[in-house]
């Protein structure tokens, strides 16, 4: 952002298409991740979110290897990453259904394998590592029009499913066993949540990166949980918090010329700290 150091935030948004795309991307990703974070927190899926987001690294390396790293191949890379994350999510789901393995073992295994595969593929073809750095820590200014279209489509798909399955997802998050006993398909919602998680990570990874996206998938939900006693308000507070922190993070990163993904995570962390103090004082 060095060329814009003297430009105000709104002026930059008015002048530059990439700034408008960055703002739209931050808001979409901030909102989408916050919706998922509610289920991640209630279903204790923080570690699996972490596992799938790191799996995205393997998928991205595979995509870059297959399609190269120019702007036109960005959509193809995203699709390969989505397929890879989905496969890992399903594999974690299947392996963790084995009686003798706990889910965290399955996650730990696939997490490490996917990262290793990514590094292996990078080494194999001597890929230009700057591209991978973009995916590891995110680069919101590199978000293209195609990326934004993909993000919007994925967000619409996921929000639509969440709206349709709102009550079923509540019961499943509360108690999968009792949801099953009442006649709902717990297996379906188990895989539906994993799929949504994988797709959300794919939609977000270019903005925040593989390493930081798991924070987006935990902090808004955890913050809302601290101050809310009902599911509906928890969801609303998480989404407002996610969008607001994404905007504030982008604004601050522009002001101080620092990486956006990291700034949003720090903003969210500060918000979480405030909520924690409020909750501690109230209880």
């Amino acid at each position: 952002m060095s060329q814009m150091e003297h430009t105000g935030f709104w002026q930059a948004v008015a002048e530059f298409a990439f700034m408008r795309q960055a703002l739209a991307a931050a808001i979409i990703v901030g909102g989408l991740c916050s919706v998922l974070s509610v289920y991640v927190v209630l279903r204790r899926m923080a570690f699996i979110g972490n596992g799938i987001s790191h799996a995205a690294f393997g998928g991205i390396a595979l995509g870059l290897l297959l399609f190269g790293s120019d702007a036109t191949s960005s959509l193809a890379t995203s699709l390969v990453t989505a397929a890879f994350c989905l496969a890992v999510a399903v594999a974690i789901g299947l392996v963790s259904q084995h009686e003798r393995l706990s889910p965290d073992s399955a996650i730990g295994i696939f997490f490490a394998f996917s990262m290793a595969l990514g590094v292996f593929l990078v080494g194999l073809r001597k890929l230009y590592t700057a591209d991978l750095m973009t995916y590891l820590f995110g680069s919101i200014l590199a978000v293209t029009r195609d990326d934004l279209i993909l993000m919007t489509a994925l967000a619409a798909l996921i929000m639509g499913f969440v709206a349709l399955s709102y009550k079923e997802l509540i019961y499943y998050s509360f108690d999968p066993h009792m949801a099953w006993a009442s006649g709902l398909s717990a297996t379906f919602f188990h895989y539906a949540l994993l799929t949504m998680l994988a797709l959300t990570i794919v939609a977000s990874v270019k903005v925040v990166g593989v390493v930081l996206v798991s924070a987006f998938l935990v902090i808004p939900g955890a913050t809302a949980r601290l101050i809310c006693v009902r599911f509906g308000t928890m969801m609303a507070v998480a989404v407002v918090f996610g969008i607001l922190s994404a905007f504030l993070g982008l604004y601050t990163s522009h002001l101080w010329n620092v990486p956006t993904g990291a700034t949003i995570v720090i903003t969210q962390f500060l918000g979480f700290g405030v909520a924690w103090l409020v909750a501690a004082k109230r209880d």
């Binding site: 349709l164 019961y171 006993a181 009442s182 006693v229």
Partner: protein
């Protein structure tokens, strides 16, 4: 959601037919036979580890018998699918944490989701039904309280209310009074009996609380690896009731003297 539960008043709701079940090769139930007719309140007695919970979970369809079959409403229990909404279930201890962001009323309303159908929103009718069940359970005043602010007994009543709100034809209850005080236990059994009669439900309840269950259940059965007896409660002799206790003492004896290994 209404009416259908009054049909077939004498048809068997539960049929357990020559059922064997083993956990990791250790036999828990062997050649069990049991029939529960519509409108019956069956109490399952027997020692801890005798297979009461396993039998409940077989009827629920969560477990599949190694041999024989379990029929619920004429269909194999583990293949009920969406018809599972006709079966209410209250587990021994709720696995969900009471920390979930929901009030007592929110929790009871969850019981209506399955019969409401996919994509449909909860409306006035569902909330009314939930309020009414909370009234029948004697806890209307906790409706708007978060779950975690409720006592163990109140939480258990909320979970029973959730199982009942969709008016199931069969209610399965596993050791409901664990964690309740004595006064709470007595009123709980009375309320459940009144509800069972009002909703004309069939109830199967596993309990070790012989003092209360014999006054509430119309039938009793003693489960300890097998169904030792299964008879109307008024016909039972004191000796038969004692047998359920003695089997418990026998099990404890075997566990103490054989390093905790199962006796089969």
């Amino acid at each position: 959601m209404n009416g259908s539960h009054t049909d077939n008043s004498a048809a068997p709701v539960v049929q357990v037919d020559h059922v064997d079940f083993a956990w990791d090769g250790a036999e828990v139930l062997a050649d069990c036979n049991l029939e529960v007719l519509a409108g019956q309140f069956l109490g399952l007695l027997g020692p801890n580890g005798g297979g009461k919970t396993t039998l409940i979970r077989l009827i629920l369809g969560e477990l599949v018998p190694d041999r024989g079959q379990v029929l619920v409403l004429g269909r194999e229990a583990h293949r009920l699918g969406r018809e599972r909404r006709l079966v209410g279930y209250v587990p021994q201890r709720e696995r969900a944490e009471a920390n979930f962001p929901a009030t007592a009323l929110d929790t009871v309303v969850m019981g209506t989701f399955s019969s409401l159908g996919y994509g449909r929103r909860v409306g006035h009718a569902q909330r009314e039904a939930a309020v009414r069940i909370l009234e029948l359970m004697g806890i209307p005043h906790v409706a708007d309280k978060p779950l975690r602010q409720l006592s163990g007994g109140q939480q258990q009543r909320v979970f029973v209310a959730r199982a009942l709100v969709s008016q199931p034809r069969l209610l399965l209850v596993d050791e409901p009074t664990v964690g309740m005080d004595v006064g709470g236990q007595e009123s709980f059994f009375k309320e459940l009996k009144a509800l069972q009669e009002e909703l004309q439900m069939t109830v199967v309840m596993a309990t070790h609380d012989m003092g209360h269950i014999r006054h509430v259940a119309s039938w009793l059965a003693c489960v300890s690896r097998q169904i030792h007896w299964h008879r109307p409660s008024e016909e039972l002799t004191e000796e038969e009731l004692d047998q359920a206790c003695e089997l418990g003492a026998y099990h404890r004896h075997v566990k103490t003297h054989h390093g905790g290994q199962k006796e089969n």
